[in-house]
């Protein structure tokens, strides 16, 4: 399914002269909380041949949409432009872009070659420094991967200006929902990080829950009721081949996640009413038990270094978050606020844990340091649930369900700062999102 795209990165001639920073370098420091988005202009990319006309326009729009969606950037509409970009090679008229206060300028060109291969070139300019920011870059791929190439350009722009890796060229797997609350159909679906390119991975005959990507994005783990009982299942994203991993009779398995090296899975196994955490080696099938308490232990998530696991347990009487060594053993409680904590997810940067918190009849998505300090709630609603981190650890996506008989679920994203809450533009209802790593 994933169209293989070969990307050639090539430096475009003309090494940038050293930037003379007159007004300071073009820079967004995300940690400081951006209140005023940076104005940028992305004139339609130049179509270098006739076949590229529509693509050039579309690619520019996707780049703009990616950057704008972060809340860190604001596009200056082309109606304000003083000069246009008619040739990728021509020098940039900095004064014309300064006059409309475009701090960043993105120019580019698209051509369609033999066999439908397209080439996308771009440059980023720091307008107030009268200088390019970084080298020009060129991507080559198939025509139907044009959105990915646009995301690659946007990731480059984001990275050069924020100093952090981007997240646009990534995908999200989630549960697509249809039907009323008491007869809901659920299907696994996958889409680009901006909601485009939605495809279904299962047909909806059996209930499916909470998919999660493998560390390199080639497989998805989820819980399927295909057998009539919840079973952790692994699916190859390209071939859609799937197999259930642990179907011991008289047990239920659910809440699976990959270990950071992708060779094993951590999950919950229920037997006789008691739920504990286990791991399984995907090659050998060998299973090992990490917790053995009469309480519920579920929702395990590895730290990115693979050394620790955060999970939910109600051993204290209510669901709370605990951290233990990846081999099991003594766990220390990390959530101490008022309320119930569950669905912990370790951030890809390793510095934080995102979670769902229920308190006084409301649900929140929150983050805390891995020792439980500095808890911050990012959202509040009737039902927010199931956070997942963007590959760069700056954005969290989650599911939100409205109350009542007509309740519907939707996917939302929010910055780790709590700003820029957005509803994902997807068709139909969705829940349980999981973000892939940045695609290669």
């Amino acid at each position: 399914m994933l169209r293989v795209m070969i990307l050639f990165l090539a430096l475009l001639g003309l090494a940038a002269p050293p930037a003379l920073a007159q007004n300071g370098p073009l820079r967004i420091v995300i940690d400081q909380g951006v209140i005023e988005p940076m104005p940028f202009a992305v004139p339609d990319f130049v179509a270098e041949n006739r076949e590229a006309t529509q693509l050039a326009r579309d690619i520019s729009r996707v780049i703009s949409s990616d950057l704008t969606s972060t809340g860190l950037f604001r596009e200056i509409p082309n109606s304000a432009y003083i000069s246009g970009i008619t040739s990728f090679a021509s020098p940039v008229q900095y004064a014309d872009w300064k006059a409309i206060n475009a701090q960043a300028l993105i120019t580019g060109a698209v051509s369609v070659g033999p066999g439908g291969r397209i080439t996308v070139k771009f440059r980023l300019f720091d307008v107030f420094s009268n200088a390019p920011l970084g080298e020009g870059l060129q991507f080559t791929g198939t025509t139907d991967s044009w959105r990915r190439m646009a995301h690659k350009v946007a990731d480059q722009v984001y990275a050069r200006i924020t100093g952090e890796s981007g997240y646009f060229d990534s995908r999200v797997v989630f549960v697509s929902e249809s039907g009323p609350k008491n007869n809901r159909q659920k299907r696994l679906a996958i889409m680009d990080s901006d909601g485009a390119g939605l495809q279904y991975l299962t047909q909806g005959g059996a209930l499916v829950l909470a998919p999660r990507f493998s560390p390199n994005g080639d497989r998805v783990l989820y819980t399927s009721f295909e057998s009539g009982f919840p079973r952790i299942t692994v699916m190859d994203v390209n071939s859609l081949a799937r197999r259930s991993l642990d179907d011991q009779r008289g047990t239920m398995t659910f809440a699976p996640r990959f270990a950071p090296d992708g060779t094993s899975v951590v999950y919950s196994l229920e037997q006789g009413g008691n739920t504990d955490i286990y791991t399984m080696n995907l090659r050998t099938g060998a299973r090992s038990r990490l917790t053995s308490a009469p309480s519920i232990e579920t929702g395990p998530s590895y730290s990115p270094d693979g050394k620790s696991i955060v999970f939910t347990s109600d051993r204290s009487g209510t669901p709370q978050l605990y951290v233990m060594s990846a081999g099991g053993g003594e766990a220390r409680r990390v959530s101490f606020g008022q309320g119930r904590y569950s669905t912990p997810v370790w951030s890809p940067r390793g510095d934080m844990i995102a979670f769902t918190k229920q308190s006084q009849g409301r649900f929140h998505i929150g983050v805390m340091r891995t020792d439980g300090s500095e808890e911050r709630l990012l959202t509040a609603s009737f039902l927010d649930e199931g956070p997942t981190w963007s590959p760069n650890g700056r954005v969290i996506m989650f599911g939100r369900e409205t109350s009542g008989a007509g309740g519907q679920s939707a996917l939302y994203s929010v910055d780790v700062s709590g700003r820029n809450l957005r509803r994902m533009p997807i068709q139909g209802a969705g829940s349980d999102p999981a973000w892939s790593p940045l695609l290669p």
Binding site: N183, S227, P230
Partner: protein, 168 residues
């Protein structure tokens, strides 16, 4: 206000749910492995699954976050055990459910606790363990869909579905 109208409405809705529920959530719909929902038969026949469902009561309810059996649940389950010990051709699938006030995976575990509480009780009343299986749907299969305690109370349940398939 018109309390009377409102409670009449609730009763009517419950009646409807009780009629439609088994067909939709029984073994036939979700196809729990090897477990086929039995033909219901007539409720006037004490040996029929319909009698089990309607006269004895196929479900028990739980308090928020709890999986302990209430006194009235025990009465219902004594009835279930008596019927199962008489009608030994049937096996059962106990479905545990939770209301929507909780996260998905935790509620799956909570529903399993509830199903297991019913399973253990029935076994303690002489039902052979190899006739009983359990499954949890967590909060995935509510029968009442309002977001108020009146609905939540109906959804925190364990339903004993009588079937013909092999138990263990």
């Amino acid at each position: 206000m018109n309390l009377l109208t409102k409670s009449a409405l609730v009763v009517a809705m419950l009646g409807l749910a009780a009629c439609t529920d088994p067909g939709r959530f029984g073994g036939s719909a979700d196809g729990a492995g090897g477990f086929g929902a039995a033909g219901l038969g007539s409720a006037s026949d004490p040996a029929s699954p319909a009698y089990f469902q309607e006269a004895i009561g196929d479900r028990v309810w739980f308090a928020v976050d709890q999986s302990t059996l209430s006194d009235s649940a025990v009465v219902t389950l004594d009835g279930q055990a008596g019927w199962l010990n008489t009608n030994t051709d049937y096996s059962i699938l106990i479905e545990g459910h939770a209301d929507e006030q909780g996260t998905r995976e935790y509620n799956l575990a909570l529903g399993a606790r509830r199903a297991s509480a019913v399973q253990e009780y029935l076994i303690s009343r002489g039902v052979s363990p190899n006739r009983v299986r359990t499954v949890s749907y967590g909060k995935e299969r509510p029968i009442e869909i309002c977001s108020e305690e009146s609905c939540y109370a109906q959804n925190r349940r364990a339903v004993t579905v009588v079937g013909t398939g092999a138990g263990s």
